[in-house]
């Protein structure tokens, strides 16, 4: 008897261990497994890269959608900083979320559903309501893979108090880089402990292309060649300009994005996206936002890179129609307004109704948006962007790292040669 009891116990434990392992696997997949058959609701997974307060807001918006819908239930998955890794893993195992935030179309478009047919069904006004420049950033080869849900361009942030202290006029939309340099020099001189301008040591190559565009050049020419473009005189001019400011001591190269230095008034000006508006406002910093200065010799307005995010549908989704319904909701007018605190609305109608062009902090971003249409980032064109981007980032570091400050032309020639 004892032996039989012992055996039963062993087998029982064994079974429990094995089944608990299996059970977890099932739950990792969509919840639709068992429940879906009983409820008639279609379950959709929605992945977001936000965290903290933004995530709370998003959860509430998702709950509102679920309450208003009889047939669809959306579950919000917060991936946070690991977003790219998790999405890659999901796509690799053909288990990506149905709806997801997307910005890196070149890398992921093979796992995404083309949305052209869905857009056409909505009628011609649907597309027109979005700012034109955004569609290029959410498409690959003329096929749309994401509905624009947010964007930012970059603008010049400046500390009004430091400007007052140095007795200089605030920057305006028709400033040139020479004006900025002069102001930076004056501020560094007159304000103790502060530098006039700051920029990143580890400049993101994706962002940095905008400075080259502003001076009439770019990473690559029309045929995709680096040589003659990234190391052209105009490109070299841009990098040398920034490097000079550091050498003269009027600019500081920051380890991070530069927002920390702005918040602690260690720098009077820096260029960034709209992400820091909220933080700076909360700090109570007396700051202003203006368009990026133009290069005097370029004869054109400054151009900004667009960081546009869109909402995409997974190619392997089993509920694409339901996913499309959710995408429309999330990118519609109501939600553009609901997210206005941390994401610039992409719909013309919302910009008009909320009078954003009168908002001193937000209007410059829209001006930059209009100045920046017609440019396609190299990352969208080149296949091997991950390798090129790496090389570029390393080269920029060599140029801007205060311990190295290498000669610009040499470094850029090396990049072009690879």
């Amino acid at each position: 008897m004892k032996k039989v009891m012992g055996m039963v116990l062993v087998v029982g434990l064994l079974a429990a261990t094995l089944l608990s392992g299996c059970g977890n696997n099932k739950q990792n997949g969509t919840d639709s497994g068992n429940k879906g058959e009983e409820d008639s609701k279609v379950k959709i997974r929605f992945a977001s890269w936000d965290n903290a307060e933004d995530l709370d807001t998003q959860q509430k918006l998702v709950d509102d959608f679920n309450a208003s819908q009889d047939n669809i239930e959306v579950s919000l998955e917060a991936y946070g900083d690991d977003y790219d890794t998790k999405i890659s893993a999901g796509m690799g195992s053909k288990d990506a979320p149905d709806v997801m935030y997307m910005w890196n179309y070149p890398a992921y478009h093979e796992g995404l559903e083309s949305l052209d047919s869905y857009i056409d069904k909505e009628g011609s006004d649907f597309k027109k309501n979005y700012y034109d420049a955004l569609w290029a950033y959410n498409s690959i080869d003329d096929s749309v893979y994401g509905i624009p849900v947010g964007f930012t361009t970059h603008c010049l942030f400046y500390n009004k108090d430091l400007f007052d202290q140095a007795g200089i006029e605030y920057p305006t939309a028709d400033w040139t880089w020479d004006d900025l340099k002069a102001a930076a020099a004056a501020i560094t001189e007159k304000c103790d402990g502060a530098k006039g301008f700051s920029y990143q040591i580890k400049a993101d190559p994706y962002d940095y292309e905008m400075y080259l565009w502003s001076n009439g050049s770019g990473y690559i020419d029309a045929d995709g060649n680096l040589e003659g473009s990234i190391n052209s005189d105009k490109s070299v001019e841009v990098f040398e300009f920034f490097q000079e400011m550091q050498k003269e001591g009027i600019a500081v190269a920051t380890e991070g994005g530069g927002t920390d230095e702005m918040r602690s008034a260690k720098t009077a000006m820096y260029i960034y996206g709209s992400w820091s508006i909220g933080t700076l406002k909360e700090d109570g910093l007396n700051f202003g936002v203006v368009e990026i200065p133009a290069f005097a010799s370029s004869g054109q307005d400054s151009v900004s890179i667009l960081s546009s995010s869109g909402l995409s549908i997974s190619k392997d989704s089993k509920h694409k129609e339901a996913a499309w319904e959710f995408v429309k909701y999330w990118t519609g007018e109501e939600l553009n307004k609901a997210r206005i605190e941390y994401e610039l609305p992409v719909l013309n109608s919302v910009v008009d109704s909320e009078k954003l062009m009168d908002d001193e902090y937000k209007a410059p971003f829209y001006s930059m948006l209009e100045q920046s249409s017609g440019y396609t980032p190299t990352s969208f064109v080149i296949d091997q962007w991950s390798v090129l981007g790496d090389n570029l980032e390393l080269s920029f570091e060599r140029i801007f790292n205060p311990s190295t400050l290498e000669d610009v032309k040499t470094v850029l020639d090396e990049v072009a040669a690879e």
């Binding site: 032996k3 012992g6 055996m7 062993v10 087998v11 434990l13 064994l14 261990t17 094995l18 392992g21 790219d84 890794t85 890659s88 893993a89 796509m91 690799g92 890398a107 992921y108 093979e110 796992g111 040591i201 580890k202 380890e255 991950s386 390798v387 790496d390 390393l394 570091e397 060599r398 790292n401 205060p402 311990s403 190295t404």
Partner: protein
């Protein structure tokens, strides 16, 4: 009769089967899969294609970063292992001293090893900050202007080594238990013969704990080669790739460049290298490790 015999024989296997199944599913299985993947061109999204030794050939002949990262990691291991061993041994000797409050010190010395690697990285990132960091502040108090640890390529590696010393607690504890186990009669006999504390250390303590030293050398060597968390969070491989350890190289190949096949090949090469080095250490161990159960023969005998 036969059924009872079968059950009797099968029971131990049933007991270990949960672990065995887990091992097969989660360790051996993926290991085998990654070996297979290393012979493929396997992008994360898209189709994979068989390329035989292609990945390995590319690694050794076309990828300069492979060699750079490998050399860098070897350099790091060469400094990290002796340094950490030395610190661990020193601290272990300290806490074996019979002084008041030694238990408190034992806890304090061990505490950093318990903190999660991520938390340590973030902590050190702030300590090592060039402008606002505590380390530079302390240095300035004695008149030295500290370098920008995480920005200057010349100092970044040293900064990483400094931060990784936090994990020395585990090794220290292992040394401590071993040292505590040395019979006190040996020390008494030595001091009767007039041996100084230093002499006692080198002639009694050190030889007896050589098995533990061997263990710690191997484990710290393996973990040095696999170092990833600290580097990823503290420097991101920079500045200017001066801390781009092999672990980061593999990770970037897998998730940044999305080449799972290539990354798997990288990982297997690392495995082979660690295997080679470990067996080298083992081979050499017969020369310097003293096991208490060995009997000294006339021919054998320990080299000093």
């Amino acid at each position: 009769m036969k059924k009872k015999q079968l059950i009797k024989k099968a029971t131990p296997y049933l007991f270990i089967s949960p672990w065995v199944i887990g091992f097969l599913l989660f360790t051996a299985g993926p290991l085998l899969l990654s070996l297979i993947m290393s012979f493929f061109n396997w992008p994360i999204i898209g189709d994979s294609s068989f390329i035989g030794m292609g990945n390995y050939v590319e690694m050794f002949t076309q990828d300069s970063q492979f060699w750079k990262s490998m050399v860098l990691t070897l350099k790091y291991a060469a400094i990290f292992v002796p340094l950490n061993l030395g610190i661990a041994l020193f601290l272990a000797m300290l806490i074996t001293q019979p002084i008041r409050g030694v238990k408190v010190f034992r806890t304090i010395f061990y505490l950093p090893a318990v903190v999660s690697g991520v938390a340590i990285s973030i902590l050190w990132k702030w300590i090592l900050n060039g402008d606002y960091g505590i380390l530079n502040y302390l240095l300035s108090l004695i008149g030295i202007e500290g370098p920008k640890w995480l920005v200057d390529p010349a100092w970044a590696l040293f900064a990483v080594i400094l931060a990784s010393a936090f994990g020395v607690g585990t090794m220290m504890l292992i040394f401590y238990t071993d040292i505590k186990n040395i019979p006190i009669e040996l020390y008494e006999a030595a001091s009767l013969d007039g041996a100084s504390p230093a002499r006692q250390f080198f002639s009694i303590t050190l030889p007896i704990i050589t098995p533990t030293i061997l263990f710690n050398v191997i484990t710290s060597m393996v973990s040095a080669f696999q170092q990833l968390t600290l580097v990823m969070l503290l420097t991101g491989g920079g500045p200017l790739k001066s801390t781009y350890f092999y672990g980061m190289f593999v990770y970037d190949n897998a998730f940044k460049h999305r080449r799972l096949g290539y990354a798997s090949a990288n990982a297997w090469i690392m495995f082979i290298i660690i295997l080679l080095l470990t067996s080298l250490v083992f081979k050499s161990s017969s020369a310097w490790v003293y096991y208490g159960t060995e009997v000294k023969t006339a021919k054998g005998g320990k080299k000093k």
